[in-house]
Symmetry: C2
Subunit: 317 residues, 2 copies
């Protein structure tokens, strides 16, 4: 397939086309992903999340510039589950990363919820793999909010950065959202503002309560607009990457992610099949027979489950 | 099977034993239900729900007495999803229906969440069918609260009665819980209290907003402790039963319920299989190979879905 070759060679049009196929849940996408998968696993995947208004776009811009200075090729997937749009449109509006638009070493793509038949998390995972197979050294996955979908998306990352700001809402809210547990690094942006010291102290206190884990998430003060804290962020990311490798947690984490991914993909397929079955006239006829007491529920359950899974077994990409 | 005969003859010990088998999700339960199912569909099934403190136990007691006076055999399943207990224990404590304990025409059973491997709603459905096959004319299914589980349980009823009281919380709360939509009758208990007139007016106003449906839920004032409103409740229940029959809505509703039941039973079985699969050492080995890039996700998804089928197809009751 021409497309596979294009992606592997880092051709930008091929990469964009591949991600579009994923978004459209095209049949082609599955065989494409099968061909690309063996060439993945090399990129360092960093998730960046936090409440809206935390200055993540500016931070991302500065981080990209810093990583380019280090000679790294950078891929970016910006995910907004609340937006139906994807592709270039959203980026132009929301994320002002145009300064990197002409840089061949940077590929930026936004993804919305449109047409994500396989689930947004699965689509994001596949898009990340496309960039991975295309040879990007580091892939930044940004989400807009801190909802359940965003949390699930973060579960594909090697390292998760939670961006907070003083005044962007109570720390307790973020705590409740369940995102604290998955954060490996805390970045306190707009650290020149009132309340930054308090926020940092609160975070450190919270981390004290967790005892002595193998990795204690660092709290990094930053002022992204002035490029302050960006070098420190990259330092800490590298330190976490080294920790992941040395402790074996990196491999364990990726294995857990794969396990969860397979489970979700199976569940999704079964759910789709089940919808089809419920619309099947033969199923409706059996239901009528059940209603007339000419059938019994448990036998029908067994019969239709067998047919459900038989169809699944015969499905080809 | 001796047990089937016992249930069909209305033997109380057999009925109790059958429901225990259902609760234990015993393998025997499935073949028992297959044998009993053809003899079901005759009882009138009434769901009674409402927030805690609405006086449902007293109401139930009075309603049972009234129905006995009409010469009807009454089965009662009291479901408490928040309690791990089932069987006789709970009833002695919570529901004071002992006045019917020696009456052969009344069978009362409580069910808790303990051991409900197949889901509490499915177990309740099976227990109701046991009473139906045993010849009870009317089966009352009571739930303690108005949570999601209770809502699901109510979906097995021909008629749903929502019990409210003045002062038992804002009507808006009940509205939000989504139970308003499934209520066929509103019973305002403790109607001699302050606020009863306001509650009834609020309910009627809300029902006005619904326009002109084929069935407008009546709002029945009652004082269960004084037996007031009980005869009216039974009258309205009969009126709804007649409406269900004449409009065809009764059969349509039962068909919808069967459809939902089959779907949930299938989903449950698949979920159980999937859990088993994730614990399978062979799956773990494939996961390791996937991690080493010797396998690709989509192929594994297809392979394990097919194995899921083989196991399910071969399963016997």
């Amino acid at each position: 397939m021409e497309l596979i070759k294009g992606v592997r060679q880092g051709d930008r049009r091929s990469i964009a086309r591949a991600i579009t196929l994923i978004e459209e849940a095209s049949g082609e996408a599955e065989s494409l992903m099968e061909a690309l998968y063996p060439h993945t696993g090399n990129a360092y995947i960093v998730g960046i999340t936090g409440p809206p208004g935390a200055g993540k776009s500016t931070l991302l811009n500065r981080l990209i510039a810093h990583l380019r200075g280090e000679g790294l090729a950078v891929g970016v997937i910006a995910v907004d589950p609340t937006s139906p749009f994807s592709g270039g449109a959203l980026l132009g509006d929301r994320v002002r990363m145009t300064e990197h638009a002409l840089d061949e070493g940077v590929f930026i793509r936004s993804m919305g919820s449109r047409g994500q038949l396989g689930g947004l998390a699965a689509a994001t995972q596949d898009a990340v793999r496309v960039l991975d197979a295309a040879g990007y050294d580091i892939i930044l996955v940004e989400t807009v909010g801190v909802g359940q979908t965003e949390l699930t998306i973060m579960e594909l990352a090697d390292t998760v950065v939670l961006v907070l700001t003083p005044g962007a809402g109570d720390i307790v809210q973020v705590w409740k959202a369940g995102i604290m547990e998955i954060a490996d690094l805390f970045l306190v942006n707009k650290a020149d503002r009132d309340g930054a010291r308090k926020l940092i102290a609160d975070l450190e206190e919270m981390l004290d309560l967790a005892g002595k884990p193998a990795w204690r998430p660092p709290v990094i003060p930053a002022v992204a607009t002035e490029r302050r804290g960006i070098a420190e962020l990259w330092q800490e990311l590298q330190r976490h990457q080294a920790h992941l490798q040395e402790s074996g947690e990196g491999a364990a984490r990726r294995l857990r992610h794969l396990r969860r991914e397979l489970r979700e993909r199976m569940e999704h397929r079964i759910r789709r099949r089940l919808e089809g079955l419920l619309a099947d006239p033969a199923f409706q006829r059996d239901l009528d027979r059940l209603h007339r007491r000419e059938e019994v529920p448990h036998r029908l359950v067994r019969k239709w489950l067998a047919s459900l899974l038989a169809g699944e077994g015969g499905e080809s990409p």
